[in-house]
Amino acid sequence: MNIPEKHDGRSGPERLRAVLDTSFWTAAWRADVAANCLDLFEIVVPRAVEDEIRANDPLFPRGEFPYATLFRHLRDKMLDPPDPEPERLPDLGRGEASALALAQALGVPVLVNEHRARKLAANLGIDTITVPAVIVALYGLGVISDRAAWRKLRLIEAITAAAIVHEAATALSALGASIGGRDRPGAVARSTPRGGRAGPGAGQPDARPVPPR
């Protein structure tokens, strides 16, 4: 595992520079952690990934998907890629190929949430960070409450392997998160229709004061 050199000149905890893949953004939006990610990461956005996220439905070209709206609002908090970008990796789609090539060139992790892209990254020696890890880290670092962490994990339960959800839940418990009750993954998920749209913004406030370190 590579630990990239620190490069954030801000005061306070330095953020980790990482390259965004489309699969991470849509899952982070679904888990309601997309905005929180800016507390942890200096996100570099490859142009092809930006195109994929902002692309409209060909049948409804004037509409905008909710994850794209959030991206548009937060885009100026993220970094542009170098110009020119590294040459895309062959035999992959534009977004994945750009994200992996850029992460490799910069020597930083890629934010990804799809197992095939994650496997390709691993084969190329690129560190990956997925949404479940971000949820655990946000709780561990004191950015979100335990209740919020359970809720966010539950929001991606349907799209995440049970073993990974279980490990994330174990990590949350080990970090001191109290038993999540109805917010804990598995508690009510079986009675929730799969595919129900996760509604970011619903429920209790997620933020809690950052404890002294």
């Binding site: 849509t26 890890a133 670092l141 418990s173």
Partner: protein, 124 residues
């Protein structure tokens, strides 16, 4: 513009007539919309199947004629597991713990990598 013709059974034609009457639109408009919706659903279905059979999300999204982001979101709506095992959570948390200098997170990530079962037993 191209003209396509289709043959309908008597029952299908009656169904169409009822729909046209219900909507108050001309028959051609109703038929066109139904055809476009049908093509869209067919493409999405084929895209999802392609992904489940091992195609990349980019290729499957192209089959579905959707932007990759929207296709990923659609897979999520359908409850398709996008993040499958094996888990790399321990390694990911270790990277984050070391970057942010958080000893507690580092300890948990280490336990996850060494013996996730034991950690789960302790906190179940």
């Amino acid at each position: 513009m191209q003209t396509k013709s289709i043959r309908l059974t008597r029952e299908e034609a009656r169904d169409l007539e009822e729909l046209v009457e219900e909507t108050g639109e001309v028959e051609a408009a109703v038929l066109k919309r139904a055809a476009l919706r049908g093509i869209r659903e067919e493409r999405i279905e084929r895209g999802v199947l392609a992904y489940l059979r091992g195609e990349s999300t980019s290729r499957a999204a192209a089959i579905a004629n959707l932007p990759r982001a929207r296709f990923l979101d659609l897979l999520a709506e359908k409850g398709v597991t996008l993040l499958q095992g094996p888990s790399t959570l321990g390694e990911e948390l270790s990277l984050l713990a070391r970057w942010f200098g958080d000893a507690r997170l580092e300890a948990v990530s280490g336990r996850l990598q060494e013996s996730p079962g034991d950690l789960a037993d302790e906190h179940s």
